[in-house]
């Protein structure tokens, strides 16, 4: 019994122990939830999923699109500000530092309201999808800038010297040494950030971008099935984020011996 419930130091759990303990945790969680539902005398009814499936699929697609496009744009914003933070022109450097500090220091929901209602209105960006993606990318770009900056700092100067010693030109050094090593150093964190972008995009429901969360908000506003609606919402987000998180962990393990 002891070797099933406890992990010996510096060892991996056996398959049996892993299965038994996973089951145990799941049963406990479900039981807690079940008892809570009974306490408030609720029965769950998920039949609305079938009724609203078209809207749900559209909302899901919108969330995937926000995540993907947001990730690409925020990557470039992050790359530019990471490079800008070590720029020789002091004003550029300060600008990038300030951008990263302000964005990381304030909540996304405040930025959404500020950018959409003030800047968006002032500059005529009225398309909610476009505005949403821009706001989301600005927010995530600051986090990606930090990931990339940490990666650049973790590069070993000796590796760059070795690249010169074997006769690589600057371009070849970037292509064959710097970029591959930067990828190894940053891809696991970047993948994790992608999962965050998908979750953070839910806040765009505040400016009525009809993505997954907004779809559920609208549906539950008419049928009052709040519990079922948000449970299902959580399930759909997990379908997106869990595989990405697992991928991120795998990449981290795979790259460990290379970095």
């Amino acid at each position: 019994m002891k070797h099933i419930l406890l992990i010996p130091e510096n060892e991996k759990p056996t398959l049996t122990a892993a299965i038994i303990n996973t089951l145990l945790v799941s049963v406990l969680l479900i039981a807690l939830f079940w008892i809570s539902l009974n306490q408030i005398q609720m029965t769950l009814d998920f039949s609305f999923i079938g009724t609203y499936r078209i809207r749900l699929i559209k909302g899901f697609g919108m969330t995937v699109a926000l995540g993907l496009i947001g990730f690409i744009i925020s990557f470039f914003i992050g790359l530019l500000s990471a490079l800008g933070q070590s720029c020789k022109i002091l004003a550029v450097r300060y600008f990038c530092n300030l951008y990263v500090m302000l964005i990381r220091g304030t909540p996304l929901i405040m930025q959404i309201y500020l950018f959409f209602y003030i800047l968006g209105t002032a500059w005529g960006i009225e398309n909610r999808f476009v505005a949403g993606i821009l706001i989301l990318s600005l927010f995530e770009g600051a986090y990606i800038a930090e990931i990339l900056r940490a990666g650049i700092q973790a590069l070993d100067p000796e590796q760059m010297e070795a690249a010169r010693a074997v006769g690589f030109t600057r371009k070849q050094t970037v292509r064959f040494v710097l970029l591959p090593q930067l990828i190894v150093l940053t891809v696991p964190s970047l993948t994790g950030q992608f999962a965050s972008i998908i979750k953070d995009s839910s806040l765009l429901s505040m400016i009525a971008v009809i993505e997954l969360t907004q779809t559920i908000r609208e549906i539950t506003a008419t049928n009052f099935k709040l519990f079922e609606g948000y449970l299902f919402l959580g399930f759909l987000y997990l379908c997106l984020t869990l595989p990405i998180t697992l991928l991120s962990k795998r990449l981290e393990r795979r790259f460990r011996h290379e970095a």
Binding site: E158, A162, A165, V166, F168, T169, Q172, E258, A259
Partner: protein, 246 residues
């Protein structure tokens, strides 16, 4: 090879004290060891010889040709040398084989097949035929340095530059690498080595140069330099080393 160093000085940017000051040297050798206390400028001198950095003043000539100072010619010059670093010289994200083949293909214009053949030949010569597909982290310290030597030799450079190639190694790996270097020397590979291995400097190198506090105090035939050092600094340096080696 013939090496001439004329009034070479180097002060790093933003520092007041020079790392090397007024170094002069003129001699011919097949192998030269540079010895001296840590922080004396040995590795810096080797980097100057390898064209990895440029001096503040003075010049270096190898077989009569001056080492250039502009970036483009330096890159061409580096193609003709083979540099082995103390420890971290292999590209971590490449396998042992790729560490050798990619520079051959990209820098020296080898075809994929020719590079592969040359790399396998060298790995075999250095006893690493089983390890070509491993990453540096999967190799022992001694194996890593042998791969680094193979990479440095791959494009048939005019000479090897070795920066304390054994100082990060266990004693058994140290002798393994020194044996390899000695064999290469017998085969006619010319080299300049910065080392703390006095036995190797004495018995395997033709000439030895003694560098202290950025100044080249003494150089000459290795046997005579070790047996009858001229400067008090070298006498002191050698006697300190011998204290535990009697």
């Amino acid at each position: 090879m013939k090496l001439e160093i004329n009034d070479l000085s180097l002060t790093f940017h933003g520092q007041s004290a020079p790392v090397l000051s007024h170094v002069n040297f003129a001699d011919s050798f097949g192998s030269l060891a540079i010895i001296g206390s840590s922080g004396g400028g040995k590795s810096t001198l080797l980097r100057l010889l390898g064209g990895l950095i440029s001096p503040t003043s003075g010049e270096i000539r190898i077989d009569g040709d001056r080492i250039p100072t502009d970036a483009a010619s330096l890159q061409q010059y580096r193609k003709k040398t083979g540099f082995v670093f103390q420890n971290g010289g292999l590209f971590r994200h490449m396998t042992a084989l790729e560490n050798i083949t990619i520079p051959l293909i990209q820098v020296h214009g080898y075809s994929q097949e020719a590079a592969q053949m040359r790399a396998l030949e060298l790995l075999k010569q250095l006893g690493l035929e089983q390890d070509g597909n491993k990453h540096p982290a999967q190799l022992s310290g001694g194996q890593r340095q042998r791969v680094a030597i193979a990479r440095a030799l791959a494009a048939r450079p005019s000479f090897l530059l070795l920066d304390e190639p054994t100082s990060a190694l266990d004693p058994e790996y140290t002798s393994e690498i020194l044996t390899v270097l000695n064999q290469l020397k017998q085969e006619g590979v010319q080299m300049i080595i910065v080392t703390h291995e006095m036995g190797f400097a004495w018995h395997a190198c033709d000439k030895v140069a003694f560098l202290q506090n950025g100044t080249l105090l003494e150089w000459g035939e290795s046997a005579s330099l070790f047996q009858s050092p001229q400067t008090p600094q070298l006498k002191q340096f050698l006697s300190k080393l011998l204290e535990w080696n009697r």
